[in-house]
């Protein structure tokens, strides 16, 4: 019983930190703030899924941890390159 209460408290803390990151996404003055907060949201989602799979005693969500990690990293890199250079993948002809 105590174990479930600790897991639920952890989930509440993770939810509060995701809400804090959403505040930064909405308010952030520059686009770099928003990208940073979205990256942090992805990392917090990974932790939430891990705690949730412990709470439900299942292995089924471990693929999801790896998938969200990879997708969040690729999205962050694409956004950062887009705001830095105005394009994601450099064409060969432009030298």
């Amino acid at each position: 019983m105590t174990f479930e209460i600790i897991m639920i408290v952890s989930l509440c803390l993770l939810t509060l930190s995701i809400l804090a990151n959403i505040y930064r996404v909405v308010k952030g003055p520059s686009s770099a703030d928003r990208i940073q907060a979205l990256d942090a949201i992805g990392i917090n989602l990974i932790a939430s899924i891990a705690v949730f799979s412990v709470l439900l005693h299942t292995h089924a969500f471990f693929d999801l941890i790896l998938l969200i990690g990879i997708l969040s990293f690729v999205g962050t890199v694409a956004f950062a390159r887009f705001t830095e250079r105005g394009m994601v993948i450099k064409q060969k002809d432009e030298g």
């Binding site: 408290v9 770099a32 940073q36 990256d39 942090a40 705690v51 941890i65 790896l66 990690g69």
Partner: protein
């Protein structure tokens, strides 16, 4: 009720990780500019998530004897990519001219950046 040492260790790791992630979220709200916020978003958040994932791994390893290689890969991947992402974001912010906060007293990159990077363009 806590049954054995497995649940105690896992609960300790997971609770510590959640508290660290929460503290880093407070840092994301309260710190003044994007460069200082990068510390809260990359370092402490990564530590909290790694602690939570290690707690999950230990829970399934001790209670069921199930060693998840996917979870190990997730830990390795988060540990590898979070600093890279933070570096890319900070670099794109500096090249876009996002200002430092007014409290900061020195910008050591400014002289080098204006001599070397801008003359190439």
């Amino acid at each position: 009720m806590l049954h054995g040492s497995d649940e105690v260790i896992a609960a300790l790791f997971i609770l510590a990780g959640s508290i660290i992630v929460f503290v880093s979220a407070i840092g994301i709200i309260r710190l003044p500019d994007v460069y200082t916020r990068s510390h809260a978003a990359s370092k402490s958040s990564t530590l909290g998530v790694l602690s939570t994932l290690v707690g999950t791994l230990l829970y399934f390893l001790i209670s069921e004897g199930y060693f998840s290689i996917r979870l190990i890969m997730g830990i390795f991947f988060v540990f590898l990519t979070a600093p890279v992402a933070a570096h890319l974001i900070a670099r794109s912010a500096y090249r876009n001219g996002v200002p430092l906060t007014e409290k900061s007293i020195e910008d050591e990159l400014k002289k080098y950046y204006f001599e070397n990077e801008l003359s190439k363009k």
